[in-house]
Amino acid sequence: MMKGRPVVFVLAMITLAIALLSPLATLARGVLFSAHMLQHLLLVLVVPPLVLLSLPHDPPGETRSGAWLRWIPSWGLGVGAMWLWHTPTLCDAASTSVGMLRAQTVSLLVMGTAFFWPIFGPRAAQRLTTFGAMAYLFTACAVCTVLGIAITFSPVEVCSVFAHPSPARDALGLTAKSDQEIGGLLMWVPGCLIYASCIVAMYGRYARAERLERPRTQGEAR
């Protein structure tokens, strides 16, 4: 059992605080769509993997290949977190009702954790193989990219709440359309970048596992 990483946990908590307690949260509540999107991404794509990475881990070990089918639901939850809360009805509801907002926050964290469990989860036996993890992340990235593109270029508002006149938005020199564009681009470019970084991290872990193995095989050779 490898030790936990308190620093990573603190980072996760700071990110969580930024998402929920800072002015970002105020802006996300019906003022700026782009702020909402940033909060959304932090809750799904940043906080859960950091929390998982901070937990005490099994040493890297054998993962059963062929067990990928059972991770389809968590893939669906991770991708669904993006699509579900950006259907116009739910997006509006979460921006106006406090109950829905709480439900949204909790569900995003849960869905994000479910998504990253087979990637960064503490149990080696419950992790995808390196290649499986890459395919898992890449397909999720592709689907989120499509949504990001759709939001960026969509002629209709994703959340009509954010289309209301807003002095805060005007003060920033944004229109409802350009605000939504920024939101879509946040999902498209930095969102995808997080998945891409995780893919590279998977290779890093794979390469490191070799170095950990080496002394053992040396012993075997003699």
Binding site: C141, P155, E181, A196, V200, Y203, A207, E210, E220
Partner: protein
């Protein structure tokens, strides 16, 4: 088979060892070959032929531009020539050259006897000259394509390009694209299933690793182009309006699709070249590569990022300020993993005992020239710089530094490095030095001045220019440079011809290299290896060397085995998924307004046929289970039922088409009709192909020629295909029918 030696008949045939006799020698032996080494050489020779064609086109361009206001070539011909030059160099030279090297080297480097699917390999190769012929056939139909290599709509549409040139361009690229995807799947399966014991992924030679990654880029990026080409052909042949503004289409959509393919394509053309450099520099520095994991990992990073930054090719198209910013940042990021590699190569040379053979000279030349191309590339990531310099000669200079200074230099290095393995003889070092220095001088003279011309505002793709200060002189220099390059190519060619007959005998391992291809004879026997050396690390041949003090410590790991048919089908499915994704996205894009679909489609009827299709997936699973249990009669029954259910679906679709066409709807009546028929039609074609394949299986089963072992892999793979076609229909049915009718 008889032994027919015909020295000088084709390329290297006089060096074909006797072992080749098994599959026939002489010209017919080469035509009928399924040997990866011969196919690799065929790829290289054909690509070299087209390199000559594209090179002559380049010289014609340079002659026309050598002097202001020249009338050597008229504007229309000029447009055709630069289009053919670009298309030829990218699709008929760079890609096939890299595939050729991959074909020749990957099985040797992983200790395999051949590619996983030798006959598929031969098909991939023969699609390449066929595609080249199709492209050039356009000359006999009223003119070559004249719309540039990225063929922007609406210029590529019938009203603006009325000859058949663009149609042949699209058809040729489709054919080449299919060949590339098949070849890439073959490479993936080969690397996954045929590695020698001990050769784990972490020990792969970097050339194999980078080719492997490139193969993934090919299977995911090429189908995007293929889908776009299909839609362009629908526009041109069936008078539809997907990419033309009149009729409601969108020209910018073509740009998005093209560059979604086009940016990964840049790395498809660069990564295998990086792989060659990563093999050559360590060998001639007598040092292992510095930071293997970083070179390998950064390749992965480049590959993943390459799918997310295509919009930087479209800064001038007006995506909006915010999109430009996001993509400028994203594009600059991709320079980081590329820069990492440059430093790794330099660090590998640092403190090594360098041997400046011609191969090494070209590798070092690559480093310098590619950095120049990379630096001008980073500038284009900045949107304001891009606005200023796009479509100027600065772009021309940039991508020639990347593709010639980068890829072509690496390929030259690779040729000098691996020629002895392919032919048994070394290329002449003396001629090689002439070749190298003429290339360096000619190349930099041609293209460096084009940076200046670009900054002075000279536009690309214009057949002549006014007599502005210095323009004539700089263009003249560039033309002189291009002729020096032409001489260098002649020297190269002469060197190959001379060395094939008189070159110094190479022996197995002339460079004291350490990857597996040097463990066998030069040229390798038909089956490549008598015995594959044990692989305990990244440099198996070093480990064999008695002088080597650092004895190998790694274990000869037993590798996991995979079913080649299943791996291949996964690759094919991934590729097809991207193809259908583009068609589905296009459908949704043009049918945000659901009324057209609602007024034409019948949910209930289609729902019934859809149920049949879904049921057929279950019957196929039951059939597969029966096969596994050895119940042949049950297997045949379920299989037959699957075919019937699939047939009912196709019948239902045909009936739907009949009633829609009866009500006056045609492929070009509206964008709804165009996108509906394109999407469901392609799905229907896939179902039909699946039915034919299932029919073949059933035929074999009924004829009794169905040993469980022999066919269970094919059965499994076909089953995967059939389920995939069903899953596509789940999406199509939801998006097209359920979405608009509820």
């Amino acid at each position: 088979m008889t032994i027919l030696e015909s020295p000088g008949g084709t390329g290297a045939s006089d060096h074909v060892p006797e072992e080749h006799a098994g599959e026939g020698s002489g010209v017919f032996g080469w035509i009928a070959t399924v040997d990866h080494k011969r196919l690799g050489i065929l790829y290289l020779l054909t690509a070299f032929f087209f390199f000559g064609v594209g090179g002559i086109e380049a010289l014609l361009i340079r002659i026309q531009l050598s002097h202001p206001g020249l009338k050597f070539i008229g504007p229309d011909t000029y447009n055709q020539i630069f289009t053919m030059h670009g298309t030829t160099m990218i699709f008929l030279v760079v890609m096939p050259t890299l595939v050729g090297f991959a074909n020749y080297l990957v099985p040797l480097m992983i200790g395999a006897r051949d590619m996983a699917f030798p006959r598929l390999n031969a098909m991939s190769y023969w699609l390449f000259p066929f595609g080249g012929l199709l492209l050039h056939f356009s000359l006999f139909t009223g003119g070559a394509p004249a719309t540039g290599w990225f063929s922007y709509a609406p210029l590529s549409e019938t009203p603006y390009s009325s000859t058949m040139g663009t149609d042949y361009w699209a058809l040729a690229l489709l054919v080449l694209g299919i060949g590339s995807v098949a070849g890439a799947i073959n490479i993936i399966v080969t690397v996954v299933t045929l590695r020698a014991p001990g050769l784990t992924i972490r020990r792969l030679p970097l050339f194999v690793w980078m080719t492997f990654i490139t193969a993934f880029l090919i299977i995911l990026a090429l189908p995007v182009l293929n889908a776009a080409l299909v839609m362009l052909l629908v526009d041109r042949q069936l008078d539809a309006h997907i990419f033309t503004a009149h009729g409601g289409g969108s020209a910018i959509l073509w740009q998005h699709f093209f560059w979604t393919f086009g940016h990964p394509e840049v790395y498809i053309m660069a990564l295998p070249a990086f792989g060659m450099i990563s093999e050559i520099i360590p060998v001639f520095s007598r040092k292992p590569i510095f930071g293997y994991e970083f070179v390998a990992g950064s390749t992965l990073a480049i590959a993943v990022l390459s799918f997310g930054v295509w919009a930087h090719h479209m800064f001038a198209a007006g995506l909006g300020h915010r999109a430009d910013l996001a993509f400028a940042a994203g594009s600059m990021l991709i320079a980081v993993p590329t820069g990492v590699k440059i430093f790794n190569w330099i660090a590998t040379m640092w403190g090594g005992s360098l041997r400046f053979t011609t191969a090494m000279l070209f590798a070092v030349g690559f480093l310098l020239e590619f950095v120049i191309g990379g630096l001008s590339g980073v500038q284009f990531a900045s949107a304001p710089v891009d606005w200023q310099l796009t479509d100027s000669y600065y772009v021309v200079a940039h991508f020639h530094y990347v593709l010639f200074g980068g890829t072509a230099f690496a390929v030259m290095a690779g040729t000098y490095y691996w020629f002895p393995k392919m032919t048994g003889r070394l290329l002449s070092e003396r001629a090689g030095r002439w070749h190298f220095w003429l290339t360096v001088i000619g190349f930099n003279l041609t293209f460096f001045v084009q940076h200046l011309l670009g900054k002075m505002g000279m536009p690309r793709r214009v057949y002549t220019y006014p007599d502005l200060p210095n323009w004539g002189a700089l263009n003249g220099l560039s033309t002189i440079g291009s002729f020096i390059m032409a001489i260098s190519v002649v020297v190269f060619f002469a060197n190959i011809v001379w060395s094939l007959r008189r070159g110094e005998k190479a022996g197995d391992n002339p460079w004291q290299a350490w990857t597996l291809e040097w463990a066998t004879t030069s040229p390798p026997a038909h089956d490549n290896f008598d015995r594959v050396p044990p692989v305990r690390g990244r440099r198996p041949l070093w480990d064999l060397d008695d002088e080597n003090k650092e004895k190998p410590t790694g274990a000869i790991t037993e590798l996991k085995t995979y079913d080649p048919g299943v791996v291949a089908m996964w690759g094919f499915i991934a590729s097809e998924a991207f193809f259908f994704a583009i068609l589905i996205i296009t459908y949704v894009f043009f049918n945000l307004d659901k009324r057209a679909a609602a007024s034409h489609l019948d949910l209930k009827m289609t729902g019934i046929f859809t149920a049949c299709l879904f049921a057929s997936s279950f019957t196929l699973v039951l059939s597969e289970r029966a096969l596994a249990a050895g119940k042949n009669a049950a297997m045949r029954t379920w299989l037959a039922l699957t075919i019937v259910l699939g047939g009912v679906f196709i019948g239902g679709q045909a009936n739907e088409y009949r009633s829609l066409i009866g009500s006056g709807m045609g492929a070009s009546t509206s964008l709804f009709a165009t996108t509906f028929f394109t999407l469901t039609g392609f799905h229907g074609i896939h179902v039909t192909l699946g039915l034919i394949a299932l029919g073949v299986l059933l035929g074999l089963a009924v004829a009794g020629d169905f040993a469980k072992k022999k066919h269970s892999s094919a059965f499994k793979a076909l089953g995967m295909y059939w389920h995939f076609v069903d899953v596509v229909w789940v999406v199509v049915f939801s998006v097209v029918y359920i979405r608009s009718l509820t």
